[in-house]
Point group: C2
Chain length 391, copies 2
């Protein structure tokens, strides 16, 4: 289903010969058939941002977009003026096909950095994709497959609001264990009647609480892009709170799926920090713990190593997160193995067999701010994928 779940959208995913994997679907097209053409976007903050990001950021700035073309098999990043012209040519070609201005077409790419795309293949693929456009579940699924790189499964979401308005989406994310370098491309579609401004506000908050919290430091790759498109085809003007809530749920579901498909991961780790003086403080603590290779290795070895948790916590500066180290408690999968900053119940009591590991840290400052971040464990398979895959 993915991007075709909401009314007013058609999609396709085709084999364009961009990917080095023979016969892999590597080009997706998503078209908004209206009546609205509202769009909102969140992009990487990386200073080496890719050509398609430079293009798309400008293209969606006016709140209007008619189509999105996405390719795997090449990031078109660090490719200079020639790379930028490739994104422009791609947008122009799609614009001509769908009957729009180039500025109404967003472009997304993922794959190897530093090489130009095989443009002829991209343009021929765009034509093939246009010819294959459909509003079926299969067409949506094809699009979600075409954007995959080292992903092992397509990641989609479908939600329905009051009075029947819908929101659907797809995402690809390959190596989110080291997310500052892993490209994430996400397209979310809705048939709700909403303004671009309302969408941008909802998407910014939703991304901050989802895609920006499944990582080490909030940094992004050269190509990260999250787009939200509205067709208005349902005719339903949703309650603002409900709209915000469903956008947030869609982003949460898709980001959770990225963690579930983390490269080589054998455990999905949820780190929740409570009892902090502020949400920023809780977030800084959660991210410090999530960034620990030693902890990630321990978890992959089924060891709930609380020493590595508190050591990471101890690297957060007191200005950022005030707390008393002798009041901190840590629960892993519900067992309080660290109490008052020291040993609590025996770590052998913790059942580490579930894929999902819950690390609950209470800073006990007397305040109640909290934050949750997700990460994956660090396995032999992660090293294998990233030592041998050219990306």
């Amino acid at each position: 289903m993915s991007v075709t779940f909401a009314q007013g959208f058609s999609a396709a995913g085709v084999v364009a010969g961009i990917s080095s994997v023979e016969g892999k679907k590597d080009l997706a097209l998503v078209v908004n058939n209206g009546p609205l053409d509202a769009v909102a976007g969140v992009f990487t903050s990386n200073r080496f941002c890719a050509a398609p990001v430079q293009w798309s950021r400008k293209a969606v700035a006016d709140g209007h977009a008619k189509a999105v073309i996405l390719n795997s098999g090449g990031a078109n990043a660090c490719t200079g003026e020639a790379g930028y012209q490739q994104s422009v040519s791609t947008a122009e070609a799609v614009a001509e096909l769908v009957g729009a201005q180039a500025e109404d077409v967003a472009v997304c790419s993922t794959g190897l950095i530093g090489e130009l795309l095989p443009l002829d293949n991209v343009l021929a693929g765009a034509k093939a994709a246009y010819a294959a456009l459909a509003s079926t579940a299969e067409a949506g699924a094809d699009a979600s497959h075409a954007i995959m790189t080292t992903d092992t499964k397509a990641k989609t979401v479908e939600l329905t609001g009051s009075n029947g308005w819908k929101i659907g989406g797809m995402v690809k994310g390959s190596g989110m264990i080291a997310p500052q370098l892993a490209t994430m491309l996400c397209v979310i579609t809705t048939d709700a009647v909403v303004s671009a401004g309302q969408m941008q506000a909802a998407l910014t908050v939703a991304a901050e609480h989802s895609f920006n919290r499944i990582d080490v430091d909030g940094c992004m790759s050269t190509n990260d892009t999250v787009l939200l498109l509205a067709s208005g085809a349902s005719g339903v003007e949703p309650d603002k709170d409900e709209f915000n809530k469903l956008v947030r749920e869609a982003c949460a579901s898709l980001s959770r799926q990225i963690i579930g498909d983390g490269e080589g991961a054998s455990h999905d780790i949820r780190i929740t920090v409570t009892g902090a003086t502020s949400e920023d403080a809780a977030l800084a603590c959660g991210r410090a713990v999530a960034a620990s290779n030693l902890l990630k290795c321990a978890i992959s070895g089924n060891d709930p190593n609380w020493g590595r948790i508190v050591s990471s916590l101890g690297t957060v500066s007191p200005e950022v997160a005030p707390y008393d180290s002798e009041k901190v408690t840590v629960d892993v999968n519900g067992v309080r193995i660290c109490e008052n900053g020291g040993a609590g119940r025996d770590r052998s009591e913790v059942d580490m067999t579930p894929r999902e590991v819950h690390i609950d840290i209470d800073l006990n400052t007397g305040s109640n701010a909290e934050a949750t971040v997700w990460t994956d464990d660090l396995t032999h398979e992660y090293v294998h994928i990233n030592a041998d895959y050219e990306s």
Copy 2:
């Protein structure tokens, strides 16, 4: 040689039964026989700092120390008041043996966090070490072995200054790929006639440019300790600049040896950032690159992946390190594979067979500030060690 290279020091390394490895030397004693008893120290900034660090920081604050006792097999961190009392008792026992005040004895521990030490073994070991004290090369070597954990070799340094004054040292560092959690213990001795104040100034600068630059983010473990002791036994008052230089060289050598023995590492990676607007800017860029798991994996696969280098660089905020991404160049092992922020010479030209990999990044801002950091690659063996070793 290590700590017994300089005159006026005796040392020992004995099997005390603290380590879980049967028959492993796990307790070292270093005694300053004077005539001076000057000391300087640099300690972890971790907020969950271990009991021995809390004790030793106070003990060396007055610039005087007669002895240092170090154990592997247990960190005595996150052990509360009981753990602190163990450090006090250990210092008292050593003080009685060497004829000093407890406040003149520094204590260092490394190993598993969150458990008390087997104190009887520590105290009996201290007696055995005292009985074995010698100023021989062998005694120095024994001490350097007794502090090892996952280290595969002892790490020592010996340097001689003008007029024959000497400086020697030993260090243990196990998992410096993720250094914010890896305990590093270092004792450096000199027979120069120097003041504690001069030593502290020299050591602080030296540690900043060595131990604090073989890592990801400058954070330290719960137990990290670097001590510099002076006996004055050479009778030589060294030139201040020469003294600073040799302390820095000793620290550089020992920190380089830690990288060379990084857990599971197959490459030692030197990252030099030049053409920056300030040393802090260069350092921030170097650390961002050194922190990339994706790059570390690529290097272990002999792939000089410049895309992963510039992507990491791009996560440093412009406020911290101003530069123009289109002017950046990257050389790996002398081959300019990234030019003006894009592809340069072909990556296949890079010879990745040497253990040492040199990544030279020129930000080309027009200014000339620079900084160098060292890291290791990320291998299957690293994951194995840290998934299976309880530390």
